[in-house]
């Protein structure tokens, strides 16, 4: 998509993302307090995450494992020697007055993410690699609750803020992309792929509304074909993937318009305002040297051995990119079906179990995306793994349709019961006598009865109203309790109507 269409000069945007993902560990990164979200303020606190004098942080082994696994999944080189640093600034949500993070020796570098961009109009997709500059571990800050109201209340009223340090010290990984992104759509897709990966790995939940996944965007525009970057602007405060896309598209337009009008673009941080659907200047950005990084003296370096790396690598699941390639190349699924099924690991596991139990891929995908998906949505986003209908149950149902034992309609009629109670579709079909009628003689008898019982409709058909064919087929299906093979019924009805 081009946002710059009507202008004479063609511009392109140069976009990079900084993504913070909360890691789902039990405890904080450097101390034993719980890292779980807690409503009551200042419950998960202790002297270490509050930065009391004389305390010693110790790295949580799960944080290291999760960070290395995430690094591997993002195709990073894992550093043989890595360390922590102090990033210093004063803000009340930061009790130590510095954040423990990683500066020059991050745990992972030089990775990439493959995104697949789906084009709704054509139903096709294209792939692009976005470079990952680095991945590092760091601690989160606390939360400010502004006295007398919300964040929006900054200007008026209250003279104080309240601080909740439950989140201070919660483990994060920060993933920095190369400036390889060109559009809002690519950025949103990149962020979604990061979320898919952390969810597949089981290292984070990636929930944007709760702030478990946060994206900051760096964006500049330049005349297409030129090398030099324009002035970089940072955008924050997007809490959905579509907000990322809209904020970027807005900002691209704003920067191009400024260029065209000969107005300066300031290096600054802008906030996305969801209500107004625009970005707003927040502050002029300081030089990064003001953070005065230096090595964290209280934490030793990290050396992940080759053996440890191999062990962790062996624990990685098949990742979304590999599944996307396999589903399209080997199973013949469309880009759209692939996108829906691979979006979440539990769905792919269910889907693959259905295939393993003997069902073909396309109908399996259709059932999962269609009726089953609708059922899960209707049940407050119930997880597919909680479904009473097991993968082998669904496979059995699909095989019953495929081999002609039951019609698709019967299968659809059976589904609600299977979804509610589970059980074997084969056994239910036999018990209820729902086996499809494929005997032409039996269907013919029903057809003749239906024709005899509806002389008016027959006359209409004879009078040229050929649409009445559907009516007769419907009546035949009804008469057979939906069990007549619909294709066969259709043929025989047509034949008998013409003979009548």
């Amino acid at each position: 998509m081009t946002t710059a269409a009507p202008t004479k000069t063609e511009y392109e945007a140069v976009i990079g993302l900084e993504t913070h993902c909360q890691l789902e560990t039990e405890t904080k990164i450097f101390c034993d307090s719980s890292a779980k979200f807690t409503v009551d303020p200042n419950v998960n606190i202790d002297p270490i995450c509050l930065g009391m004098p004389g305390v010693l942080p110790v790295l949580n082994e799960k944080v290291l494992e999760y960070a290395v696994k995430a690094g591997m999944a993002l195709n990073c080189q894992i550093a043989p020697y890595s360390k922590f640093d102090r990033k210093q600034y004063f803000y009340p949500d930061l009790p130590k007055n510095y954040q423990i993070t990683q500066s020059d020796l991050p745990i992972g570098e030089h990775g990439w993410v493959e995104i697949e961009l789906y084009d709704k109009k054509s139903g096709t997709s294209s792939r692009k690699r976005i470079g990952v500059t680095r991945l590092h571990m760091e601690e989160d800050a606390g939360k400010l609750v502004h006295g007398g109201g919300s964040d929006n209340d900054r200007i008026g009223g209250s003279t104080y803020s309240l601080v909740d340090y439950n989140r201070a010290g919660v483990p994060l990984i920060e993933i920095v992309s190369e400036p390889d992104i060109r559009t809002g759509q690519e950025a949103a897709e990149y962020a979604q792929e990061i979320r898919r990966i952390v969810r597949y790995l089981g290292v984070g939940n990636g929930n944007m509304q709760e702030g478990s996944l946060r994206c900051d965007v760096n964006i500049s525009v330049r005349v297409k074909g030129t090398e030099k970057f324009g002035t970089k602007v940072e955008i924050k405060n997007m809490n959905s993937f579509s907000a990322i896309q809209r904020a970027i598209d807005f900002e691209i337009d704003r920067q191009i318009a400024a260029n065209e009008a000969g107005e300066p673009i300031f290096q600054e941080t802008r906030l996305w305002d969801e209500t107004a659907q625009e970005t707003r200047s927040m502050r002029l950005k300081e030089g990064s040297s003001d953070y005065r990084y230096f090595p964290e003296p209280d934490l030793g370096p990290i050396e992940v051995s080759a053996a440890q790396q191999e062990a962790w690598k062996a624990e990685l699941p098949e990742l979304p990119r590999s599944k996307r390639h396999r589903y399209q190349d080997d199973l013949g699924l469309s880009p759209y079906d692939t996108r829906v099924i691979t979006d979440d690991r539990a769905t792919t596991e269910y889907f693959e179990a259905v295939l393993a139990a003997g069902a073909p891929a396309k109908p399996a995908a259709n059932w999962i995306m269609g009726d089953i998906g609708a059922y899960l949505n209707a049940n407050n986003g119930m997880g597919i793994s909680e479904l009473k209908l097991t993968p082998s149950g669904l496979a059995e149902l699909i095989v019953l349709i495929e081999d002609g034992t039951i019609s698709n309609k019967i299968a659809k009629d059976l589904l609600p019961e299977l979804l509610e109670n589970g059980g074997s579709p084969k056994a239910i079909v036999e018990k209820k006598g729902l086996v499809q009628i494929s005997d032409p003689a039996v269907i013919e008898a029903a057809v003749l009865e239906v024709i005899a019982a509806n002389p008016n409709e027959l006359a209409q058909y004879k009078g040229g109203k050929t649409k009445m064919l559907g009516f007769f087929v419907g009546q035949v299906l009804k008469k057979t309790g939906g069990k007549a093979d619909p294709k066969l019924a259709n043929q025989i009805v047509a034949q008998k109507l013409n003979e009548a």
Binding site: T25, E26, T27, D32, S33, S34, D40, P41, N42, V43, I45, D46, P47, L50, V58, L59, N60, E61, K62, V63, L64, K83, Q88, Y89, F90, Y91, P92, D93, L94, L105, A141, L144, V145, H146, G147, R154, S158, T159, Y160, S161, L162, V163, D164, Y165, M282, R283, E286, D290, R292, P295, P297, L299, G300, P301, I302, E303
Partner: protein
């Protein structure tokens, strides 16, 4: 030689309020310290890998098991200004962070 302007900036970043006299005084003292450390540059360190630490330990980690800190009240009480279950701080603009 460190000048007063540099000292002024460092003091600002560290939230220290210095008088002009102190600034020039510290410029002199800090320069002395830096000059002393500068002596290290006389050593030939070609081919020596940079070190980030003085103590030779690595991979110190702990198990991911929750231990509740029992002294929550004390932690809340030792703040200069407590407000129920919160720490209370002067309202801050968005100039930093």
């Amino acid at each position: 030689m460190l000048n007063s302007e540099q000292v002024h900036k460092v003091a600002l970043l560290a939230r220290l309020q210095l008088t002009e006299t102190e600034e020039s005084q510290f410029a002199q003292q800090l320069s002395g310290i830096l000059d002393y450390v500068e002596l290290l540059n006389e050593l030939d360190v070609d081919g020596v890998a940079p070190t980030t630490r003085a103590i030779d330990v690595s991979n110190v980690v702990r198990a991911d098991r929750v231990k509740l800190w029992e002294g929550r009240e004390d932690l809340l009480d030792c703040a200069p200004d407590r407000d129920g279950e919160f720490y209370r701080v002067p309202k801050i603009g968005s100039s930093e962070g």
